[in-house]
């Protein structure tokens, strides 16, 4: 989950760790109106960061992500009804302490945003949303849950959110908390003391395709910097590196995780994006459901596929896909060299007739056709130590 839509805001927003990133020599970019680190050249840069997360551990500042809390009003059940109404996954299946990938939809079945829904209590939910869509999301949630007995609260600026990701992430975070992390399964969370901070939300979630944790600590600069430094210190023996949005993007792309404004948007519906397993039509009515029923009956006109370049060339976002005859048939939504695979990979929307594995397609790069083939996704899948049940 990450947004790259750039609203017209003159002053860039900053996370509480902005000054620290600059001190570390990060290359900063405008990401959805936020001044964010894209990579940290002094500690090796994007590819080093990517490989650290795949091979050991890295830490990301993801405080630009937004947070919306929805609680029941006077009557129990109001919060769940509201969440069920505005999201496509089935939040009633969540135990307290469990999270699920979901999305907020427009009535036409396209995306307001993708979200992670955490069930904090029987009548208490936390939705983690994208940075670039914060205002849109909070307004949408407030407006569309008016008929329910609920209290909506935006907590985006209350937290500094750090993502500690990689196969050694659990060992690093374990050094900073007395909570037994082995008891937290993938897509579950708990509250506990981290770096001396009581009642900290510790979630086994992330956007990298690796094991990892996201922690939510108070957003004052002193606490934020102290926590970041303690994570770096705890990870020193594991070769931890600070990681920017560049590595975050290549990691999520290899794992075929959607990026708002790319694979999902207000012009793409759930079926096209291939997110069927997170959309629970049987749970009852929700915003977008009737349109999705009609869309299912009508059939797909395009679908998201993974492609791998055969010719030497890198497919980039918004490049056109062509068939053998040179007719434009689709578009690349995300494309990049894959540091893990050593290949150039991309996600693209193409008509279903071109989506079969092994199908040869062409990507138009600076006016030339470059050969590519449709491959299985995710491009990269981590080896799981034990079967960890996921919230679907």
């Amino acid at each position: 989950m990450e947004s790259s839509t750039t609203p017209q805001i003159s002053a860039l927003r900053k996370t509480p760790l902005n000054a620290l990133h600059r001190r570390l020599g990060a290359k900063m970019v405008n990401f959805g109106g936020w001044d964010m680190p894209v990579e940290y050249p002094p500690s090796g840069g994007l590819i080093t960061e990517h490989k650290a997360v795949r091979g050991s551990v890295g830490v990301f500042d993801v405080s630009h992500m937004g947070d919306i809390r929805i609680r029941s009003g006077k009557r129990p059940g109001g919060a769940l009804e509201a969440v069920q109404h505005i999201t496509m996954n089935d939040a009633s299946k969540l135990a307290i302490g469990q999270a699920q990938y979901s999305a907020i939809l427009y009535p036409d079945g396209t995306f307001v945003d993708d979200v992670i829904v955490h069930r904090l209590g029987e009548d208490d939910f936390l939705l983690v949303i994208n940075a670039g869509t914060r205002e849109k999301d909070i307004n949408w949630v407030r407006e569309n849950t008016k008929g329910f007995d609920r209290v909506v609260e935006e907590l985006s600026d209350a937290y500094t959110q750090l993502a500690i990701q990689g196969p050694r992430a659990a060992e690093v975070v374990q050094k900073l908390t007395d909570v037994d992390l082995s008891g937290i399964k993938n897509y579950w969370f708990t509250h506990g003391t981290v770096c001396g901070l009581k009642n900290t939300l510790i979630a086994r979630t992330g956007y990298t395709g690796e094991d990892g944790f996201e922690i939510y600590v108070p957003s004052d600069v002193a606490t934020s910097e102290r926590t970041w430094n303690q994570v770096i210190e705890a990870g020193r023996g594991f070769g931890i590196v600070p990681c920017g949005l560049g590595a975050r993007n290549t990691l999520r792309l290899e794992s075929k995780m959607a990026l708002y404004g790319h694979e999902i948007s207000d012009k793409i519906n759930v079926w096209e994006a291939g997110l069927d397993r997170y959309c629970k039509m049987e749970k009852g009515d929700f915003i977008g459901r009737p349109a999705l029923e009609r869309a299912k009956a009508a059939g797909l006109t395009r679908t998201l596929v993974g492609i791998e370049m055969i010719d030497r060339g890198i497919a980039r976002d918004e490049y056109c896909c062509c068939n053998e005859a040179g007719e434009r048939i689709g578009v690349v939504t995300s494309g990049s060299p894959s540091p893990t695979l050593g290949k150039n990979i991309a996600l693209a929307y193409v008509p279903p007739a071109y989506s079969a594995l092994g199908m040869i397609l062409y990507v138009e790069i600076r006016g030339q056709k470059y050969k590519a083939r449709v491959v299985a996704t995710p491009f990269y899948k981590r080896q799981k130590k034990a079967a960890a049940p996921q919230a679907r």
Partner: protein, 133 residues
Amino acid sequence: MAYPKSYRYTKEHEWIEVKGDLATIGITDHAQHELGDVVFVELPKPGAKIEAGKSFGTVESVKAVSEIYAPASGEVIEANGELQNKPETINNDPHGAAWLIRVRLTNAKGISDLMDAAAYEAYIAEKGKETSA
């Protein structure tokens, strides 16, 4: 990294070293630093004509595509084939081993107007101030 005194530099961050009617062209240390890890280079073949101010190839990092502009006009006599397999050389030795092309100049006019090392260093220092403001 030092900017060789014998080179001339463009505002688009290419360098050119001229010896008689032959020239070697590359991108600057500043350019490779801005790009990040270089993963791909596309260069013209020997015989191709390049024209001052026009793009003659691309250098790509994981995140970005960057066009390379010709500091002068001429005919390509050699492209650095080593960069196909080792594009990261551009990050490691941009002013030396990672030269991009050698050309026979058809017109040396304008080269003396390009920046010398001192002017280029002042130019990128000024740019650095702008972006951090």
